[in-house]
Symmetry: C2
Subunit: 351 residues, 2 copies
DNA sequence: CTGAAAGCGCTTACAG
DNA sequence: CTGAAAGCGCTTACAG
């Protein structure tokens, strides 16, 4: 038989009685019914001015903080929203998470973060955890779930999803123009005179990786520069693969004067590979990344990259969620891709 | 008067009826009382084998998932633990958060992450948010709260805190040996023959920054190398300050052959500053960091650094919390500091 | 070993 | 405008 230690009665801590004050105590202090307190709290009905005043007085006197747990059980809303991200530990998602936290908190919601690890099953599980906790809505960053699953989920509660375009009731999607960004980066290189531009692909599992590759190819095609399969190397979005890609290119003796990595992490890796082989950047080879991670500002040389507005994306997603939760549908515009030129790119060296 | 749209009755989604199944339905299906189901679920009493079987059957038939919200209200425990971190968006805390999430989930708890932004007031607020949500315990990474506040908090619920040594009932603290790590790094440089070792300090608000500085000074003293105030430059733990520090040193014409930055972010910044001034690393100047961030593996050159076991710290913290929650006090040992030598350090150049 | 009952702290029809 | 009552889904003494 399992014996659990009896919970020790909480010792009240000075200035921290939140735990003890209930709506009933407030009601008693203000000489009204709990219902009335609740209505004032939620703006759920008109209450006479004097009662409002009395209740507000009592609330501040007692330091009352409503219990979201009870609220969730009774009223259906918990004022919390689930955020499924791929990992908590990513230079890329970090800023978005920060943006979400910032805006959600400002709107009075508590975010519940949970990781899906780029895995549909885990994601599904994370979502059921969130739903069990009765979150009012779910924000999913680059969800792995199918469109159908997302649409079905949106029948249950409001959903905001990034990284794909999807139209459905009770759901808003936020999609960055990866194609356009990649196209712009490639064009920039082309403008600098580069013709042999290597491309390190991202993980093909990611829609954005594919889009970026399309952008690269598109720009080449538009300018009449033939794409060369030897210049396209598979990467996986991680630094190491960028290093490997460049090393392989060099070993195979493929001629290239620029490399466009589908994300900054690989671009950083590429920089290292080139350094190891004593290829100078940007004198001999230009390098361009995608995402504009914070660290790219301090790489050697500082990295030219397509800025991806992660923080803003997070903020937009959170705002879209607040709107949905209030029954509005906010129309929001993602910022356009923007190339940030730093020192890793330069003119094509004379042959 | 505020009118809220009536909640639309949830459309059941195939395979996702979690929301609808309650303990009563399970009880009915298994032909027992809800109490019994609860007891089986919580292992809170011995139940006859056949009932257990019937209940387990019903649970899996119906796909029942207990509602943690109701559980929290009724039983006092929510199976969630609050995690206050300084920011969600940090190369440093990320790994720790991941470690915490991993272990907490494995132990059956849901983590609630929230940021304090290095600010005691915000931290305090975050903690009250967590308590309002009835978390069962709180893990605080490098809390800004005073020891007293933490001890007081621990009277209310289990607390695990990193970044300081603190003895108190219902509280466990996890402290990395910053002094030892810094001492080791300095000694390594000393062993390489360096005598003019610049030190870029961290934010003096951080205890660990101070410890690291002490370690630097300590090693110097032990080896009879006089500390030179001109070699100690104030930083703030961010990249930019590392760059500035090095630039200033160079401009002032201070002689140094090595720089020890109190964290990797500043070391990376220092690398950039040296690059800008065409000082080669490690031929002319060696650079050593602290934390061993992921990105340091791909800096140019790859950074020698004191490894800080962030992931493990997170895991240990989570395990300590589970233990506390079960009434045990786990005794855990933080990994020792370990210098990871890469390519940014080399022998002191001949004068 | 197991039920019936009360209660956790709120919200929300239902009646005034 | 405002109360009393029921109920959200569980847990836990209290009695067998």
């Amino acid at each position: 038989m399992i014996r659990r230690a009896k919970p020790v009665p909480p010792t009240p801590v000075p200035g921290d009685q939140a735990r003890l004050v209930t709506i009933d105590m407030v009601a008693r202090a203000a000489d009204v019914s709990p219902s009335t307190v609740s209505r004032i709290l939620n703006g759920t009905a008109v209450v006479s001015a004097d009662k409002v005043k009395a209740v507000e007085q009592a609330i501040s006197d007692l330091g009352y903080v409503p219990n979201p747990v009870a609220r969730g059980l009774a009223g259906g809303r918990t004022l919390s929203v689930g955020v499924v991200t791929q990992t908590l530990d990513s230079p890329f998602y970090g800023a978005a998470l920060r943006g979400i936290e910032m805006e959600l908190l400002a709107a009075g919601y508590t975010p519940l973060f949970i990781s899906g690890h780029w895995n549909e099953r885990e994601e599904q599980h994370s979502i059921s955890v969130l739903r069990a906790r009765r979150v009012d809505g779910i924000i999913a960053l680059d969800a792995r779930l199918s469109d159908e699953a997302l649409v079905a989920l949106a029948r249950e509660l409001p959903v905001v999803v990034t990284g794909r375009g999807l139209e459905a009731p009770n759901l808003v999607s936020l999609c960055f123009d990866n194609f356009g960004g990649a196209r712009e980066a490639t064009n920039y290189l082309l403008d600098l005179g580069h013709r042999n531009i290597a491309f390190i692909t991202g993980d093909p599992q990611h829609q954005d990786a594919l889009e970026r590759q399309r952008g690269y190819l598109g720009a080449l095609a538009e300018r009449g520069v033939p794409a060369d399969a030897k210049l396209i190397i598979a990467g996986d979005y991680r630094e190491h693969s960028g290093t490997q890609a460049v090393l392989r290119l060099l070993k195979q003796g493929v001629h290239f004067t620029a490399v466009f990595a589908a994300n900054d992490q690989m671009a950083l890796g590429a920089l290292l590979g080139l350094y190891q082989r004593h290829v100078s950047v940007p004198q001999q080879v230009s390098v361009i990344g995608f995402d504009d991670l914070q660290v790219g500002q301090f790489s050697i040389p500082p990295l030219t990259s397509v800025h991806q507005p992660s923080l803003e994306t997070g903020q937009l997603a959170a705002r879209a969620m607040s709107a949905l939760l209030e029954g509005r549908r906010s129309k929001l515009r993602m910022p356009q891709p923007r190339l940030v030129v730093r020192e890793s790119t330069g003119p094509c060296p004379a042959a």
